[in-house]
Symmetry: none
Subunit: 288 residues, 2 copies
DNA sequence: TTGCAAATGGAACGTGTGACTCATTTTTTA
DNA sequence: TAAAAAATGAGTCACACGTTCCATTTGCAA
């Protein structure tokens, strides 16, 4: 038989990882042109998934027939079956995180072990990230940056669950040498600290349902003083939204009763760094 | 002209999100069969990407010709062009985050605007998450949970960049009614607080390069008292590793000079919730 | 009800597809 | 070096594909 290993009893790789392993394993023993396609296939899996035999062969620099021989050598009955594996890979990778998350929640509830808990938090974080990446309002984003960039002092306001974000913002602003004030409650001097803020300053306020009463109260107070506010919150019904000049809606997926912070963190960091950059640019222009 | 809005000057959706928005917007005004396909397309985007016009039409319960009319009504010149959009979506979703991150870094450096900064932080977070998901040592994870679950008080120790994580851990432990003590430095009483810890307690210490000297010093001190330590850090050369009973290596991708915290956060939350669960289980068993 | 336009179903068509075959080249074996 | 085997290139073909066209049905206005 001319075609090498394509016998009936041989196991045909049905998933991409197995296929990949099989190819790597046989790499040495493959004919030159076949190896050429093998390399191309592993380097450009997307092209295999979507292209036609002719287009792929051209890209890989071989004849279409060689492509079919490659598939047959791996045990498939033709190029089409091989292509199915590459397509399935894209489908699975793409399978919505929401579905996975639901599955993990069920798994964790039936006590499937601690790994499920970890996976759940990772999935919740990923979901939140892809969500915000899709929904971020770019105009609001630019507006917030502009607003914060021209502030003399940036006040950062958040309690409880949102506090970690605030503390990271304060850390980052500090490293970027942007004057800022984190409003913590340790010494109970919040009201006095807020009193120093002027309309030339700006506030980043973060709060999610159930909104910490202190955050709302402080936001109201500082808003009354005419200080512009950028809010990060979770819905248009948020009490923060009414005080804010610009506000962002961030939907964080939760798991095991705790919400992810990943989307909020990403947004907060982006804001911070963008403000730093904007200030540098403005400063440069002034000098010129 | 019979085919409604397919004129030259009309903008054809080139990316999936725009397409999606367009469909949703026009939903009301679409003919019955066309609307039927529109709904199917948004519900089963993968099928559109990979199927043939005939197979898709059959699944959606319409004629192939209707499918083509649907595409034309949206401004495409045929089903094939519509399908490209669905395929592109899969390609992009699938494109490795590492590659995207590199591209975004380059983009941000050449001053491609603030959206690139945001995308960069999202990509960095996603990369970190998929990284840790792959590399988490499950045995260490279980060991850490066991160790923390039997602690009387959990001390949480972190400064600077890691501090947001510590504060979220403390928040979560509090909500789970697990006694804990966050070691902050506000009042300069850390040494005294650490002095109260006994071998019946446990510590979660978090520090990344460049390791905050205070964290290391305090970890050493508390370790000397025989208190078991769970460390989250970034390499085996970390000074924390030598003091720790269990330690995790978390590689966070960075962007614009700031590292993501998403992987560390996910691990921290998973640890916390798993400890809470373990305690509940143990308590239940004791009662029975 | 009648007339008209839009919507739909279904058949027919031409193109481009994957797979096959066979001649030629290259590699291996004796 | 000669012969055999394997690998490769290129042409061919059947067929499934997306598309078009036209007859029929449906919805609506007069």
């Amino acid at each position: 038989m001319a075609l090498g290993g394509a016998t009936m009893d041989e196991r045909v790789p049905r998933d991409f990882e197995t296929l990949r392993a099989t190819i790597l394993e046989r790499r040495q023993s493959l004919p030159k042109r076949i190896a050429q396609i093998a390399a191309y296939a592993l380097d450009n899996p997307d092209d295999i998934a979507f292209g036609t035999a002719a287009s792929i062969a051209a890209s890989a620099g071989v004849q279409p027939s060689t492509l079919i021989r490659f598939a047959q050598q791996l045990g498939f009955d033709g190029f089409t079956s091989l292509q199915q594996v590459f397509r399935e890979r894209l489908r699975e990778r793409n399978s919505s995180y929401d579905e996975r998350l639901a599955a993990l929640r069920a798994k964790a509830e039936e006590g499937a072990g601690h790994r499920a808990i970890f996976d759940g938090f990772v999935a919740a974080a990923s979901t939140s990230l892809s969500d915000i990446s899709r929904t971020l309002n770019e105009a609001h984003f630019e507006e917030a940056i502009a607003l914060l960039a021209k502030a003399e002092t940036i006040y950062v306001l958040a309690k409880r669950r949102s506090y970690p974000v605030a503390s990271y913002i304060a850390y980052a602003l500090g490293k970027l040498k942007i004057r800022n004030q984190l409003i913590e409650s340790a010494a109970g001097l919040n009201a006095e600290m807020i009193g120093f803020a002027t309309p030339a300053d700006a506030v980043i306020a973060i709060s999610f349902s159930p909104y910490a009463p202190a955050t709302i109260e402080e936001t109201r107070a500082i808003s009354d003083q005419g200080v512009p506010i950028v809010a990060i919150t979770d819905s248009s019904f948020s009490p923060l939204a009414q005080f804010a000049k610009v506000w962002f809606e961030v939907a964080e997926a939760d798991f095991g009763g705790f919400r992810s912070l990943s989307a909020t963190m990403a947004l907060a960091m982006a804001l911070t760094v963008a403000v730093g950059e904007k200030r540098r640019d403005t400063g440069r222009k002034r000098k010129v």
